[in-house]
């Protein structure tokens, strides 16, 4: 079998058995990158030599018996907003064009401890602001399923790298759908964990109260396995939660009997493409056929999620991005007169238009006289949205719906109309506002062959229910294909 066809867990097993090695896997990935990267542009930074050296070190540790575990020796791609010690970390922004961190983010440290081997850093929307990976300062990433289309975003590079076999799995970050939506567009599995499950230390913040790191991978088994590794209580992150229930792989069973699934009617109204609707409802039927109880209900407040999200995320971003000022690291304007001018030119030249738009929006909603009317009101709506979910989860184990209203749009079709782009986040962002976990699983394609994903939403700390349902769905899909 071609080594690239392995899932991450499959490759880990083959390496452990001595059927292949970390170096062989890395060579295969690098050869694939050589072949397809020119077209897809999944990565911002690849250091092949360092990646091979790391793979060699992993093989030695595996041979010595000091490195065990399911992902030992498996090549991984890291989204470029996760700090990696000694490796360029740009957030796909010009303002961090030369930033080499002195420390690695906690999620990367956990992966390294487990023996996963970093290939490089994946492209993304600048500072994770965007839904298409077109706002990157380093060029657009194309969807490997159809290169005329976007891979989604902001973790588009990570999703595309998985879809293109340019890695075995990847890490992304999700502030409003940035893992689930590109996973859906590229036909891979992606999970946003419960807020506080994966340490944010070393993740370059966009919206601190919404950001979570999560996996993009080939199947649900990989997802559960990666989740076990990156979930960790971290004293360096005050919002990190100590959990004792992170044995996610225990939920990899094809059994959804009695599982109560709610279908929010509000998610199936205008704007949703019929083909997406059909594929998602078909997934619900497959679960029902396996014994799940499926019911429609009204979630309410869905239309308020977008304004609430863009108020809170932009407010936090406007403050989080203040540190990029040309003083300490990163890009500094070449010519300026005095401090104020240096700030102005550095930030004007260093940030792209979407980032500037959100900084301005965020600064506005926090400014004196508008704070109560916008920011504070958004926090109150956020609390109401959480309450609506609480009520739903009193009745259902899982909420099932689409990830995005459409399949991947064509390249260049989204940026001209930012409001339209923001609206496409409607099904994903409320989870970030409520801190809930969400899983995107591929459930088919549209007529043009573009992938469609279903979104499984759980209550806080209920990732295992999502993994169980996702796994059952995956088994059902396999049955359909065969």
């Amino acid at each position: 079998m071609n080594v690239l066809d392995y899932t991450a867990v499959g490759l880990g097993k083959a390496i452990a058995k001595g059927e292949t090695t970390a170096v062989e896997a890395m060579q295969a990935v690098l050869a694939q990158i050589e072949k397809t990267e020119q077209e897809y542009h999944c990565y911002v930074t690849i250091d092949a030599e360092a990646a091979l050296a790391r793979a060699k070190a992993a093989d030695e540790a595996i041979a010595a018996g000091t490195l065990t575990g399911p992902l030992a020796g498996v090549p991984v791609a890291i989204k470029d907003n996760l700090c990696t010690k000694g490796t360029l970390t740009t957030c796909s922004s010009k303002i961090l064009e030369n930033f080499i961190p002195t420390y690695s983010s906690e999620a990367v440290v956990q992966l390294e401890k487990a023996g996963a081997v970093m290939i490089g850093k994946t492209n993304m929307d600048e500072f994770a602001m965007g839904s298409t990976t077109e706002t990157s300062a380093y060029g657009v990433t194309k969807n490997p399923r159809n290169p005329e289309h976007v891979p989604g975003g902001s973790s588009g590079g990570s999703a595309a790298a998985v879809a293109a076999n340019e890695c075995f799995f990847a890490l992304g970050s999700d502030t409003g759908g940035s893992i689930r939506q590109p996973a859906s567009y590229c036909g891979v599995v992606g999970m946003k964990p419960t807020y506080g499950t994966v340490s944010r230390y070393g993740l370059i913040a966009y919206g601190s109260s919404l950001d979570q790191i999560g996996p993009l991978c080939k199947d649900v088994t990989d997802c559960a396995t990666i989740m076990e590794i990156i979930s960790s209580y971290d004293k360096k992150d005050s919002t990190s939660i100590e959990r004792k229930d992170t044995d996610f792989t225990s939920a990899l069973v094809d059994d959804v009997k009695g599982l109560k699934i709610g279908i929010p009617r509000d998610y199936f109204r205008e704007g949703l493409e019929p083909e997406v609707k059909e594929a998602v409802l078909n997934a619900a039927k497959q679960l029902e056929a396996k014994g799940a109880i499926v019911e429609e209900f009204d979630l309410s407040l869905v239309e308020y999620a977008i304004p609430t999200y863009y108020t809170i995320a932009a407010a936090e971003a406007s403050s989080n991005l203040e540190r990029f000022d040309g003083v300490k690291y990163g890009y500094r304007a070449k010519e300026f007169e005095g401090l104020h001018d240096m700030y102005k030119k550095t930030r004007s030249e260093g940030f792209g238009p979407e980032v500037k738009r959100r900084i301005m929006l965020g600064s506005f909603v926090l400014s004196s006289g508008y704070y109560d009317a916008y920011y504070l009101k958004a926090l109150r709506v956020k609390a109401l949205i959480k309450k609506a979910f609480d009520e739903a989860f009193a009745k259902y184990d899982i909420i099932l719906g689409p990830v995005a209203p459409t399949t991947a749009p064509k390249l260049g079709a989204s940026l001209s109309d930012p409001i339209k782009m923001y609206l496409s986040d409607i099904y994903t962002i409320s989870l970030n506002l409520a801190g809930l976990p969400g899983l995107s699983v591929p459930v088919g394609t549209d007529n043009a062959g573009l992938p469609i994903g279903v979104q499984l939403i759980g209550d806080c700390f209920e990732e295992k229910k999502l993994i169980r349902a996702g796994y059952a769905l995956e088994q059902a899909q396999k049955g359909q294909v065969e």
Partner: protein
């Protein structure tokens, strides 16, 4: 008749807390150090770094709140104050606006005429200090040192209850003592560990509305604060007398030139876009935690003064000076506990300790000798092992190097000579060598004996028992 004016003053006092590590990371708070050596990704604002609250800061802030009769906000949180400046690594300062840890307190100040006046405290909040910018005019560059970045501060905001420089100084002195007694800060104005901003306005006596106020910054000594207040009162009255308006603005005091200048007016006031810091979780101070902080409150100056009077019968003047510094009060109590001679201990502190502090331009907080060695010295004098002048000499060594007096007098042969035989031989020699003085004495110039005592002490390197020398001389000369 000329108009009569009244001054209205409120203070914002920043106190640097004496925690070992910074407020949001594990870096040292030690003063000094080569630039950017007490730093990490958190306090230099590196991307992806996150703050983690040092709980000691909460305890110190709450302790100050309790000591100043504040209500403690048991559910409080941190907010970000956004502004761009290179000494501020993240370009926002983590502070408290919406729910400060302490509110609605007061301290009582005692004025020179004995009146007691309460000064209300609006709030106390926790925040982080900024780094330090160094401007190198020679090279035309600015450098930044983040060693101070993230050092914990509390800001104590008073109500506009003070009416004169005297009241301001009394209030600051009261705060300084409270903070020092709690041990939460060393309160050194010169090192910037206590800083005050003065909000001041004047109005006609009898007016009910406040006048337009100014805020003056960069005040780093009590005397600078007094000078600045007098200067600002005069400036504002002059403006009003000339029919002009006081402009609401921030001013900066230059203590060398003894005047202030405008930094920015209200129109240029920045919008700090405060909002709750999403990287930090709200702080819950449980009843139990608060009780622990409350029960750890020390005995403050007022209670100490009453106790010293009752327990030790010391003069009020001495008590006031000793209790004016936690260090002196601690020294007094510890030394007394060892030698059980409160009056002698007090005399040493009031005499030699104060003299040496003044001579060496030191703060009482910098005293480094141990109470054990002072107690030993007192005992040596008491036992007649050394005389007073030797004791003062030995004490100077204790003060500087904390030497063991027993060992020191042994090693340097400073023990007092009480042996009558040895003394007599010397006295006889002095009499024989100084016939003129002896003749003077015998001729009725009784003060001549002083010279002979001095010569005897000198001959015995100061170790002679002066009482015995005097007695022997008198005896021998009257023979």
């Amino acid at each position: 008749m000329a108009k009569q004016y009244e001054t209205v003053i409120g203070l914002e006092v920043h106190v640097e807390l004496a925690t070992k590590t910074k407020i949001f990371c594990g870096c040292s708070t030690a003063f000094g150090g080569a630039p950017n050596t007490h730093t990490c990704p958190v306090c230099t604002g590196m991307p992806g770094s996150l703050p983690v609250l040092n709980k000691q800061v909460v305890e110190y802030a709450a302790a100050v709140g309790l000591a100043t009769n504040c209500t403690i906000t048991q559910n409080c949180k941190f907010d970000r104050k956004n502004y761009f400046y290179p000494d501020n690594a993240q370009n926002y300062q983590i502070s408290q606006l919406y729910l400060p840890i302490c509110r609605d307190g007061h301290v009582d100040i005692t004025l020179e005429d004995g009146t007691v006046k309460p000064i209300r405290i609006h709030e106390i909040h926790m925040e982080e200090d900024a780094g330090k910018l160094v401007h190198d005019d020679w090279e035309d560059v600015s450098l930044v040192d983040y060693n101070r970045s993230g050092v914990p501060l509390i800001e104590i905001v008073s109500e506009p209850d003070m009416r004169s420089a005297e009241e301001v100084i009394a209030y600051l002195d009261k705060l300084r003592l409270i903070v020092q007694y709690l041990g939460v800060s060393d309160c050194k104005l010169q090192e910037g560990s206590m800083r005050a901003d003065v909000n001041l306005s004047v109005r006609e006596v009898g007016a009910t509305e406040f006048g337009t106020r100014t805020e003056t910054k960069n005040l780093n000594s009590f005397s600078a604060i007094s000078r600045c207040i007098e200067n600002e009162i005069a400036r504002q009255i002059d403006l009003l007398e000339a029919g002009e308006q006081v402009v609401q603005e921030t001013r900066r005091w230059d203590d060398n030139k003894e005047y202030s200048y405008a930094m920015r007016s209200k129109e240029d006031a920045q919008d700090y876009r405060y909002f709750p810091d999403p990287d930090l979780v709200p702080i819950h101070i449980s009843d139990e935690w608060l009780e622990r902080i409350r029960s750890a409150q020390p005995e403050f100056k007022t209670e100490k003064m009453a106790r010293y009077k009752e327990e030790f019968g010391l003069p009020e003047y001495d008590i006031n000076i000793i209790t004016d510094s936690k260090k002196l009060a601690d020294l007094f109590e510890a030394t007394t506990a060892i030698c059980n001679q409160p009056k002698k201990v007090s005399n040493w502190i009031m005499g030699e300790v104060m003299r040496l502090l003044k001579e060496k331009e030191m703060d009482a907080a910098d005293i480094s000798f141990s109470p054990e060695n002072l107690a030993k010295l007192i005992q040596l004098v008491e036992d007649g092992a050394i005389n007073n002048s030797v004791a003062k000499e030995v004490f100077a060594k204790v003060f500087d190097e904390d030497i063991d007096p027993d060992k020191y007098i042994e090693e340097n042969g400073l023990k007092q000579v009480n042996d009558e035989g040895a003394l007599k031989a010397t006295v006889e020699k002095v009499i024989a060598d100084n016939p003129q003085s002896v003749a003077d004495y015998k001729g009725g110039k009784k003060q001549a004996i002083g010279f002979l005592v001095g010569q005897t002490m000198k001959a015995m390197q100061g170790k002679a028992n002066p009482g015995m020398v005097n007695k022997l001389l008198q005896e021998l000369l009257s023979e």
